[in-house]
């Protein structure tokens, strides 16, 4: 766990290795199962995996969630053939209980990967036996392969080969990749239609039997910064990835829409006209929070890979000062536009050595720390003010109408501090 710190500039990137205090990719199931309404996620793993999802989702327990864990036991570890039969039995029982399932994801975990359980083959086998009613796909959400939001990336990447081929003569179409709240999706769809950009489809679709087509005429806008594998898979299907900053804040949203407009031959001036009311409105709403947040020093622990675009928003639209921007992984290519917008010399920390990072954070005494659930209360107890980062995944934050909501998420802990007298 030595800290192999290499500093390069600009921006300054600190690469660290040590204890990572982050979730694994299984966590994405918590929002993905709400987004794809007829899909079910079956984790093939251990009691730890079941407990992780339960604890992370514990904030809202649904009567019959669309996820479960097939817990590998002692007996399964004895011989592989046995495990496959067991898995078939468990899936059979599940599908019997939930006839509403159209798409089943077998989600790999650390234990399933270490024992080399081939979920790809299992998915093929099960797909055959349950076709055409149920399609079975697989991806890895394991902690040895994926960090938090990379689970969504792996899930969407697994969907890509399933997408229907776009008809050849259909002309250019836009595909927005990355799970967004329904309300955000609808707002963005309206903007695209006003811009004359279309047809527009979203990945993932709300229903598994309504997958968007993809082909050489497809232009892809990433709505989330953590979709490296999905982007690669879409490129393999011939799609072209547009590079842009991500649609967080007014600037990010405008630049993101501009990238789409440009790809569809729409003039930049049109973007300005069409978005004018929304931009004005968002700017007004943001003003209130800028007053409060300007000049405040913020430290972001690595969590979702959303950190660089968030930092860009905090620095450029709310005038906050960035002390450190942690990210579990930095995809230089997809983030090129974002990195270019960050203030010169911003310290980016990729990977993590949580103890050393906590040391740096304590020394810096930031006004606001953005961090995960394991760290928030202890840091509050030390006198720091925190914002838990997982909320950024569970709240609609993209687009103009949500820009102020996003700012508010950061302002709330500070406002709260000033309100509490005792």
């Amino acid at each position: 766990m030595s800290t192999a710190a290499t500093l390069c500039a600009p921006p300054a990137i600190l690469r660290e290795r040590g204890q990572h205090e982050v979730f694994c990719g299984l966590t994405g199931i918590i929002w993905l199962h709400r987004k794809i309404q007829d899909a079910f996620f079956l984790v093939v793993g251990s009691r730890t995996c079941a407990h992780l999802i339960q604890s992370a989702a514990g904030v809202m327990i649904f009567a019959e969630p669309r996820f479960a864990t097939a817990i590998i036991g002692e007996r399964d570890l004895a011989g592989l053939a046995d495990v496959n039969d067991e898995l078939d039995r468990v899936v059979g029982r599940l599908l019997e209980r939930r006839p509403d399932i159209r798409l089943l994801f077998l989600v790999g975990s650390c234990p399933s990967e270490v024992i080399k359980l081939d979920l790809g083959r299992a998915a093929e086998r099960l797909s055959k036996s349950f076709a055409p009613k149920v399609r079975v796909l697989n991806y890895s959400g394991s902690g040895i392969e994926t960090t938090f939001t990379q689970g969504e990336d792996a899930c969407l990447a697994a969907l890509v080969p399933e997408l229907p081929a776009a008809p050849e003569s259909a002309g250019p179409a836009l595909l927005v990749a990355g799970a967004l709240a329904d309300v955000v999706e609808d707002q963005l769809a309206r903007l695209f239609s006003d811009l004359g950009v279309g047809p527009v489809r979203f990945l993932p679709a709300r229903r598994a039997d309504d997958l968007p087509p993809v082909g050489p005429d497809t232009r892809v806008l990433l709505a989330q910064p953590f979709l490296a594998e999905t982007a690669r898979a879409l490129e393999q299907r011939g799609a072209q990835i547009l590079t842009a900053p991500f649609p967080l804040g007014v600037e990010g949203t405008t630049r993101w829409l501009e990238a789409a407009a440009e790809a569809f031959g729409r003039p930049a001036s049109l973007v300005q006209t069409v978005t004018e009311p929304a931009r004005q409105r968002a700017a007004r709403a943001l003003g209130r929070y800028r007053e409060l947040l300007a000049g405040k020093r913020v430290f972001l622990f690595p969590d979702s890979q959303l950190e660089p675009p968030l930092a860009r928003f905090l620095a450029r639209e709310l005038d906050m000062q960035l002390i450190e921007v942690g990210t579990p992984y930095l995809h230089k290519q997809h983030l090129a536009a974002e990195l270019a917008l960050l203030p010169a010399g911003t310290r980016i920390a990729e990977g993590q050595h949580v103890e050393n990072q906590l040391d740096r954070c304590r020394v810096a005494k930031p006004d606001l720390v953005v961090c995960g659930l394991g760290l928030a209360n202890p840091l509050e107890a030390e006198g720091l003010t925190t914002k838990w980062s997982i909320e950024l995944l569970f709240t609609p934050i993209q687009g103009y109408e949500q820009a102020a909501d996003l700012a508010e998420l950061f302002a709330r802990p500070l406002i709260r501090r000033t309100r509490l007298v005792a």
Binding site: H20, H51, V90, V114, S142, I144, V183, E355, P378, E401
Partner: protein
């Protein structure tokens, strides 16, 4: 392979974390992948601890496999020692590390750290959280108190005359169901008896405290799931008798006091119930007659389920129609308790099986865990919580023990109040749009006083003024409004209408909605 939606217990290493976190001066180095660090939030978010659990995870990745995971472990253990300077260290593996067989015990030993290092073997594919906690506590006790064990056959010296009896109180952990308050209540009882506490463990005990366990005259096992194994070893090694009656409920607390008094050679009376015990009178008072024969279903860990059955039957006059536990290790005790009530115990950790049983029995009250709360809510049956697994609500700010006489008072309130809410809850249920996943489904831990969807509010409300009443919502705006989470939708509607009427807008469009949103902020 078993299909699990919710699990009653975490993996065994979480049990080990509960011991390490309860203690002072202990650090746990856990060979585990990064996702396993979720367990920290159990302590910092659910229990609201102000400190991170004293755990270092190696967070090895796929690319480390087969090359240097062992070295990674050693580096983590060495760094943890240097940074935290614990008085003792626990080392072990989580489920994934168990498969790669790095032998954390051997690797840690090779580091020659100048402190006791206790290796843990917690088979993650067989065992669960409470077993892991019990095993960890036992291994710690053996490792630290072991050097003081007298040679076999030696006589335990008699307590000098005039010296107060001393006991160890064993079992309370971090993330335990009301352990914090139970400890205070038991301390109070012992204090009244004039019995001194030699060591309380693992709760706030140091490794040095564990080394002194043999000095007590006897042991009190507060939570058998956690401490029975350690107490049995102490009994064998130091000849310390143990009290295993768990003081939950009036009868059990009275038994407990008498047992402790007998072992300590003191009079029980000073600790026996005084006027502050209200359960018996409340239960006899006439307004409680409606409790008679209420059919209750009980499910939880063994200790709390057995205690609940006795209270329900003997102290509240309920009819216990079902009794069960997920603690397989204590199935025998629960079976015996069920037999006394002429029932067959339900021993399972499959919550679907418990659900089916509840549906079949149709009890009038469920005493269970948060799993049963969800089941009960769906079936429209009132429910009170008696046991882990833990939810943030199970750490109330107020003092609310389960043990002792104050615990009995708390239990009376906790079990009887949901019953009074019973009828109301049915009515509330009638307004729900759908039983699954609809946005009006209140977070079920909020129970019967959960937020209601805005649906039943008659429209227009009498209080609305004429200007607001004249407003029309365009269809798309109305649809858009529906997408806003139900718990803020009412406010969004009111704000938008106020905004529109102040500006003389007749028809509310999507634009108006967002204009208002921007105007008011949240």
């Amino acid at each position: 392979m078993e299909l699990t939606v919710w699990t009653y217990e975490g993996p065994p290493h979480v049990g080990a974390m509960r011991i390490a976190t309860a203690m002072e001066g202990v650090h746990y180095v856990l060979h585990a992948p990064q996702g396993d660090t979720y367990a920290d939030l159990l302590f910092t978010m659910i229990e609201r601890r102000a400190k991170r659990p004293p755990v270092t995870y190696t967070t090895f990745q796929a690319r480390d496999l087969g090359s240097d995971t062992a070295e990674l472990f050693q580096t983590a253990a060495r760094e943890a020692y240097e940074r935290f300077r614990p008085a003792a260290m626990l080392v072990g593996a989580s489920c994934t590390a168990e498969l790669i067989q790095d032998d954390p015990g051997g690797l840690a030993k090779a580091l020659n750290l100048p402190i006791p290092v206790v290796p843990l073997e917690l088979p993650a594919y067989q065992r669960k959280e409470n077993w892991g906690a019990a095993e960890t506590f036992y291994q710690m006790v053996r490792a630290l108190a072991g050097p003081a064990v007298p040679p076999p056959g030696s006589q335990r010296p008699a307590r000098p005359a005039g010296q107060a009896a001393r006991c160890n109180v064993l079992g309370p952990t971090a993330l335990g169901f009301r352990h914090r308050d139970d400890v205070a209540e038991v301390k109070r009882l012992l204090d009244r008896l004039g019995v001194q506490i030699n060591v309380l463990a693992p709760w706030q005990a140091t490794p040095a405290d564990l080394a002194r366990l043999g000095e007590a005259d006897f042991n009190i096992v507060l939570y058998p799931e956690i401490a029975q194994q350690a107490a049995s070893w102490l009994q064998r090694s130091f000849g310390q008798p143990m009290v295993t009656t768990v003081p939950i409920g009036v009868g059990a607390t009275t038994d407990f006091i008498r047992e402790v008094a007998a072992l300590a050679g003191v009079a029980p009376e000073p600790a026996l119930a005084g006027p502050e015990l209200r359960l018996p009178w409340y239960s006899r008072s006439v307004d409680s007659t409606y409790l008679t024969g209420k059919r209750v279903f009980i499910f939880g860990d063994a200790t709390h389920a057995v205690a609940a059955a006795r209270i329900a039957a003997e102290e509240l006059g309920f009819a216990v129609v079902g009794l069960g536990t997920y603690s397989r290790e204590f199935a025998r005790e629960v079976r015996a308790a069920a037999k006394r009530l002429e029932l067959e115990a339900l021993i399972t950790d499959d919550y679907l099986e418990v659900e089916a049983k509840i549906a079949e029995l149709q009890p009038e009250l469920v005493l269970g865990t948060q799993m049963e709360r969800h089941v009960a809510k769906r079936l429209g049956i009132p429910c009170a919580l008696i046991s882990a697994p833990m939810h943030v609500q199970d750490f109330p700010a107020r003092y609310s023990p389960q043990m002792g006489f104050e615990g009995a008072n708390v239990i009376f309130d906790a079990w009887v109040h949901p019953l009074m809410m019973g009828l109301e809850e049915h009515l509330l249920g009638m307004f729900r749009e759908d039983f699954e996943f609809h946005d009006g489904a209140a977070p079920s831990h909020l129970g019967s006083h959960a937020a209601l969807p805005e649906a039943p509010v008659p429209s227009p409300q009498p209080a609305r003024d004429a200007a607001v009443a004249a407003l029309a919502w365009a269809q798309d705006a109305e649809l858009e409004l529906k997408k806003i989470p139900f718990f803020v939708r009412g406010k969004a509607r009111r704000n938008t209408e106020r905004f529109a009427s102040e500006r003389g807008v007749q028809t509310i469009t999507v634009e108006t909605l967002y204009d208002a949103k921007a105007h008011f902020g949240r």
